[in-house]
């Protein structure tokens, strides 16, 4: 049994070596397809994480009318503290906000003309759930003291729409690319079958079983797919490591989320995906083009 398997492995290697250019094309296509597929999957996953985490990060910001005295603002804050589903209430006094703004403004000369502080007091409220953020925003909008309220609902809705689009687009692209890779493997096997038709004929005539004839081609396709998957995994893992060290920490919000995915997991998953694609492509091709009788 082991001798037979070794012989089949040798036959698969010989097949691959004789068709090395085609196999190289097949490995490259699988690698490109799986890198893109993996890239889409990671992007969709990250957007999902951001979309999931964002509601918890968004606060309700209440800008109080400038005419409202600070004592009334303190009463409003106390009322908010007592309200259900509120975890934290913080006041950003208009004086401090104005100082911060002036510090961050690139050309202080322009602001010199302003004698009065145009900024209102701001109450920042952190809720315990995304739903409470939205209901609280509705409640405080009705207050006569509030000039405007920001609850981030629009941002959230847009982000969720983008996430949905990326997920759907990513899924379609992934399916198309996977089919393309499997087709490429199948085509390589088809050409190998054509090139080795004499050997196959001789095998049939001396009494080889169908499984014996088919196995080297299936081994060859699976190996090509696996190599493509490993290459894609290595590329993506390297890219991911590079991004997580350079670009991602610079992006607000994203840097705070624990987005680092284990590169070994990415590489391993893509290698398995490549093997499955190679196996599927070669089995379909062998069943379709290798007529045994």
């Amino acid at each position: 049994m082991i001798f037979t398997f070794m012989f089949l492995l040798r036959e698969a290697w010989l097949n691959g070596f004789r068709q090395r250019l085609m196999i190289l094309a097949c490995v490259t296509t699988t690698a490109v397809a799986l890198t893109t597929l993996g890239g889409f999957a990671l992007l969709a996953w990250h957007v999902h994480l951001i979309a999931d985490a964002l509601p918890r990060r968004i606060e309700v910001h209440i800008f109080v009318r400038p005419t409202v005295p600070r004592t009334r603002v303190n009463e409003l804050m106390a009322a908010l503290q007592r309200s259900q589903g509120v975890s934290r209430v913080r006041l950003v006094p208009r004086e401090i906000a104005w100082q911060e703004f002036k510090k961050s403004w690139p050309g202080p000369d322009v602001l010199d003309g302003l004698n009065d502080n145009p900024l209102p007091d701001k109450i920042e409220v952190v809720t315990t759930s995304p739903d409470r953020t939205l209901t609280l925003a509705r409640e405080v909008r009705a207050w006569p003291e509030s000039e405007s309220v920001r609850d981030g609902a629009q941002v959230l809705q847009r982000l969720l729409a983008v996430a949905g689009f990326i997920r759907a687009g990513g899924l379609i692209a992934a399916v198309l690319l996977a089919l393309g890779a499997a087709w490429m493997v199948g085509n390589a096997i088809r050409l190998t079958l054509h090139a080795r038709r004499r050997d196959i004929r001789v095998m049939q005539l001396v009494g080889a079983t169908n499984a014996f004839i088919r196995l080297p081609f299936i081994i060859e396709g699976t190996t090509a797919g696996t190599i493509g998957g490993v290459l894609a995994g290595a590329l993506l893992a390297a890219g991911l490591t590079h991004l997580s060290n350079t670009l991602l920490p610079e992006i607000p919000l994203v840097s705070e989320l624990q987005l680092a995915i284990d590169p070994t997991l990415v590489g391993g998953s893509l290698a398995i995906a490549g093997a499955v694609l190679g196996l599927t492509g070669s089995i379909v091709s062998v069943r379709r083009y290798l007529t045994l009788d």
């Binding site: 001798f3 037979t4 012989f7 004789r18 004499r198 050997d199 004929r201 001789v202 095998m203 049939q204 005539l205 001396v206 009494g207 080889a208 079983t209 169908n210 014996f212 045994l292 009788d293």
Partner: protein, 251 residues
């Protein structure tokens, strides 16, 4: 081996074989002759189940070939050795590898594989050429290698389709001697051929096909039937009839 009322009609409607019946006993040496297109190759292909007849029954070593399930075909072929006019050796393998290939595919490996391959190569007289590739040896040696591949599985029946078709007369005689020697060890032989001098010289059983029909079954015949031979001898007493026939290649 037994064929009973075997017919073969191609998809385009042409009749390749029509109601062919004959029986070959174990150990017999039989020539199958006839013009090109008479159905010789089709008959051999039916025997190793490359083709399925459209009618009749074919028995090989107790197995009814026509009703054999696809999974049973490899077992049937392991009982048969097949030799072709164009040798069908694998060009990128040595003669040793070509012969041992037939054993590997049926699961023989290691020492028995080497031993049996060497025996087969030695038996056909090309052991010194074992490490050479097909393109490095002569046509006769290539056919000997093909013969070694056919006998290495120790088949009960050897089918040969024009085994001397691509060889010069002297080499052909060598191959035919080899076939007779293999037959002496008990292997049944069915040889499809155009080689008139060899058929005449060997003087074994002859089956003749014409237009897909079996027209002659002669126990110790020549390429031409006994009646034609007699007529030719009467026409050309000096040459014994052979001069007139040699020029008329059956096609």
């Amino acid at each position: 081996m037994k064929l009973a009322h075997v017919s073969l009609q191609h998809a385009r409607g042409a009749l390749a074989l029509e109601d062919v019946s004959f029986k070959v006993e174990p150990g017999e040496f039989v020539f199958l002759i006839g013009q090109t297109g008479s159905g010789k190759s089709s008959l051999l292909k039916i025997l190793n189940r490359e083709l399925k007849p459209t009618g009749g029954e074919v028995w090989v070593d107790g197995t009814e070939v026509t009703s054999l399930h696809r999974r049973g075909v490899p077992s049937l072929r392991r009982k048969l050795g097949v030799v072709f006019q164009d040798f069908r050796l694998l060009p990128d393998r040595t003669l040793f590898e070509n012969v041992s290939f037939a054993l590997r595919v049926i699961g023989v490996h290691g020492k028995p594989l080497n031993q049996r391959t060497i025996e087969a190569l030695d038996r056909v007289g090309i052991l010194p050429r074992a490490r050479m590739f097909p393109h490095q040896v002569s046509g006769g040696e290539q056919q000997r290698a093909a013969l070694a591949r056919a006998i290495v599985n120790r088949p009960q029946l050897l089918l040969a389709d024009e085994p001397t078709g691509n060889l010069d007369p002297e080499t052909s005689r060598g191959i035919m001697d080899l076939l007779l020697e293999i037959n002496c060890s008990g292997t049944t032989m069915l040889i499809a051929t155009h080689d008139q001098p060899l058929v005449d010289a060997v003087g074994r059983r002859v089956l003749e096909l014409q237009g897909g029909r079996l027209v002659r079954d002669e126990a110790q015949g020549g390429y031409d039937s006994a009646e034609i031979q007699q007529d030719l001898e009467e026409l050309h007493p000096a040459t014994g009839g052979s001069g007139a026939v040699k020029g008329s290649e059956p096609g």
